[in-house]
């Protein structure tokens, strides 16, 4: 009995001293976006970054809100995100909790510095709390101003943060490809290149195109079309819309069931062949009894035309990646590593000097399956 009493006493002592971690949910600051800029000239020159968190105002989320602003910004000059959290704690009465951090917006100046990028990403990766699927977004100019702009745009008001909503939009076009922290690091390990979506804020927040990274450093920007081409080639895209002129009228096609396969066709000269098979459906043509979509010949003609347009487009993008950027965003090195490990071992070391001269051929096979609710 005495033994039991002792145990009970010990347990009750634990309980009476306890509750170390109890912080009620409404007493926490739960930011969903963080923007990182280079520190601007000011009183705090010693710090490298200007870091800005955006978090929802929970007073505005209740029924009959007592406040109107649905999100707040809070910023600090610091050397790291965690330093910024520390700084902020002197100005807010609630502890910051980064578990719900969804998006990190980087300014191009930060992204161009390889060391900064490696440090910031390591911090995000190493931290126990931060979600590793956090999305990376890049912007030309100030990332902080983008967040300010986001506050002003009341149409684009969402609860979980605008960037998350834009990035998660299931119907999104292929103008950008979301890049999570995990994927970015994976790409850096295996492809040595990656594309982070590019956000701009004039006048509304928009995400299109991307910033091309090589070895953790921003080396240039690509536009939305190029991004689309790359994601088509990588097999990331599922649907796509395409417009072009045919027989004196605009024809609008929607592409679906896009399958891309790469293949090493010539081991000696490293010739890579892409095979793209696409299903198409006619969205819009023209009401004109003379222009009918009735014969197989017409279909084949259209198919060939699209294929040619697409191949030209692809070639341009590939050319730019190879010659201008010398960045393997297509993942050819990764492909060699997985499927041709012997060749990989030979080329791995001087991939930078080999990649620009690889022969890449794209083969597009379009099939028009449906023509919509019109017989001609």
């Amino acid at each position: 009995m005495k033994k039991k009493l002792l145990i009970i006493l010990a347990i009750s002592m634990i309980f009476t001293t306890g509750c170390w971690d109890m912080i009620e949910i409404e007493d926490r600051l739960l930011p969903y976006t963080v923007a990182i800029d280079l520190s601007r000239d000011g009183k705090d020159n010693a710090k490298r970054f200007f870091i800005c968190f955006s978090y929802p105002n929970i007073n505005a989320l209740t029924e009959g809100p007592s406040q109107e602003d649905y999100a707040f910004l809070i910023n600090a000059n610091a050397d790291s995100i965690f330093g910024a959290v520390d700084q902020i704690s002197s100005r807010t009465y609630n502890p910051v909790f980064l578990k719900h951090l969804k998006v990190i917006v980087l300014s191009d100046q930060v992204a161009q510095n390889e060391q900064y990028m490696r440090e910031i990403l390591d911090g995000l990766k190493r931290d126990y709390i931060i979600n590793k699927m956090i999305d990376l977004v890049i912007t030309r100019g100030s990332a902080h101003e983008l967040l300010v702009k986001k506050l002003e745009s009341s149409r684009q008001h969402t609860i979980e943060g605008l960037f998350t909503a834009l990035l998660r939009n299931k119907q999104r076009s292929n103008q950008f490809t979301p890049m999570s922290l995990k994927d970015f690091i994976y790409n850096m390990d295996h492809k040595k290149a990656a594309i982070i979506p590019l956000a701009s804020g004039d006048p509304e927040i928009e995400i299109a195109g991307g910033g091309l990274f090589k070895d953790y450093r921003l080396i240039g920007f690509i536009d939305a079309d190029e991004n689309r081409n790359i994601s088509l080639l990588n097999g990331d895209a599922n649907t796509e819309d395409i417009d072009f002129e045919y027989n004196g009228a605009n024809i609008s096609l929607s592409l679906s069931a896009i399958r891309a396969r790469k293949k090493l066709v010539d081991e000696e000269n490293l010739k890579i062949q892409y095979q793209l098979s696409v299903d198409a459906q006619v969205h819009q043509y023209v009401i004109d009894p003379d222009k009918k979509l009735q014969t197989t010949e017409v279909f084949e003609d259209i198919q060939n035309k699209i294929a040619k347009i697409m191949v030209d487009d692809f070639n341009q993008t590939i050319e730019r990646l190879q010659k201008e950027f010398n960045a393997d965003a297509l993942g050819i090195l990764e492909y060699l590593y997985k499927f041709h490990p012997k060749i990989y071992k030979e080329v791995e070391k001087d991939w930078d000097s080999i990649f620009p001269y690889i022969d890449i051929e794209v083969d597009v096979d379009v099939k028009i399956r449906r023509r919509g609710l019109s017989d001609y």
Partner: protein
């Protein structure tokens, strides 16, 4: 009270083996494998399983040779009392070390992922206390608990695989068979201790209901097979999610995977908490037989009827040993080293010696 015989049924023994083996090491296993053999770590798992199996057969054979005796009687008869007591002390040290390692690792992980401010000593202490509550009972209760928690052990792997499946790229498993075969011994050495825990057979076998050799061998093939499948599946899963460089850099790749899961619309968006919860139960079922066995060993050494008092005595000892290493780096280097040295004795050498000496003595006795 009805006089109850403490008996373990044959299906319970399977569960007991599986849940004793799969434990704290599973979270870091892909990391060790990748460090040793890159993407071919699964070969090491497979070979180790083949290596473990003869030892299990030897253990079963020991009890076949000495029917109706428990390990303590057999040991005393074969080795003589002083030498066998030394062996028991080695077992005891091994169990204490491994229990301490489990308790400490649990504390570190809980502190890192769930409770950031709570003192780590308290977290570990509560866990040891919980295990002690269950370890006071006899082997049949331990086996029951093992059987109850056994679906969780397998469920842990299945849940991990299910949640990670949507985001996996199976081509990442390629290329296969690229690593240096000379690294194989190193890999096997690393994985050998992922199978630590099957030595519970030594303490549990005498209580098994149906001791026919065929059924016991079948049960152990089954349980070691399951463990191997789980290990390989988890390793493959890690490969589909992370690059080899990352696996090598990450001490707990499986935990990293739980952080990668982000299924929008699901009630629990971040599944690391759920996985942690199940994992706590999994390592509870690993530590329980060890704690129980160390209590039993002490009660045999001091010749007492019940082992419950020793469970209480062991509580502070395990706690203190757990907090000998200062940092997590020390914890991850020193403790495995000690466990490896003791483990080689405990898992392989002593059972083999017991078997051989027993055989030799018998032959002499006959001639």
């Amino acid at each position: 009270m009805m006089k109850r015989e403490t008996k373990i049924s044959n299906i319970q023994i399977k569960a007991l083996i599986v849940s004793s083996i799969i434990g704290v090491g599973v979270l870091s296993l892909p990391n060790q494998l990748a460090n040793a053999m890159d993407k071919d770590g699964w070969i090491a798992i497979l070979l180790t399983a083949l290596l473990i199996f003869p030892i299990v057969l030897v253990m079963i054979q020991i009890f076949e040779d000495n029917p109706n005796k428990d390990i303590f009687q057999i040991g005393n008869e074969t080795f003589g009392k002083p030498l066998f007591t030394l062996c028991l002390v080695i077992y005891l040290a091994y169990y204490i070390a491994i229990s301490a390692y489990i308790a400490r690792s649990l504390g570190e992980l809980i502190k890192a992922f769930l409770l950031f401010q709570t003192p780590i000593g308290l977290i570990s202490f509560i866990f040891i206390l919980t295990v002690a509550y269950a370890a006071i009972s006899e082997i049949d209760v331990i086996a029951r608990l093992a059987y109850i928690l056994y679906p969780l052990t397998i469920g842990f792997a299945i849940i991990l695989i299910l949640v990670a499946l949507p985001g996996s790229d199976f081509t990442n498993i390629l290329p296969m068979f690229q690593s240096d075969l000379r690294q194989l011994p190193n890999g096997i050495r690393n994985t050998f201790f992922s199978y630590a825990g099957f030595e519970i057979l030594l303490f549990a076998l005498p209580y098994v209901e149906n001791k026919s050799r065929k059924r016991l061998v079948k049960a152990s093939i089954y349980s070691i097979g399951i463990v191997t499948v789980i290990y390989i599946a988890l390793f493959m899963l890690t490969l589909t999610q992370l690059s080899v460089a990352q696996i090598k850099a990450d001490p707990y790749p499986l935990l990293m995977i739980t952080k990668l899961v982000d299924l929008p619309g699901y009630f629990l968006q971040n599944l690391d908490g759920v996985i942690m919860t199940i994992w706590i139960m999994v390592i509870f079922s690993t530590m329980l037989p060890m704690y129980y066995s160390s209590g039993k060993i002490l009660s045999k050494i001091f010749n007492t009827k019940s082992h419950s008092i020793f469970i209480l005595i062991l509580l502070p000892i395990i706690f203190l040993v757990a907090f000998i290493p200062d940092t997590i780096v020390e914890l991850d280097t020193i403790m495995p080293l000690i466990i490896n040295i003791l483990g080689t004795l405990v898992l392989a050498i002593i059972p083999l010696a017991l078997f051989l000496v027993g055989r030799i003595k018998r032959r002499r006795g006959r001639s």
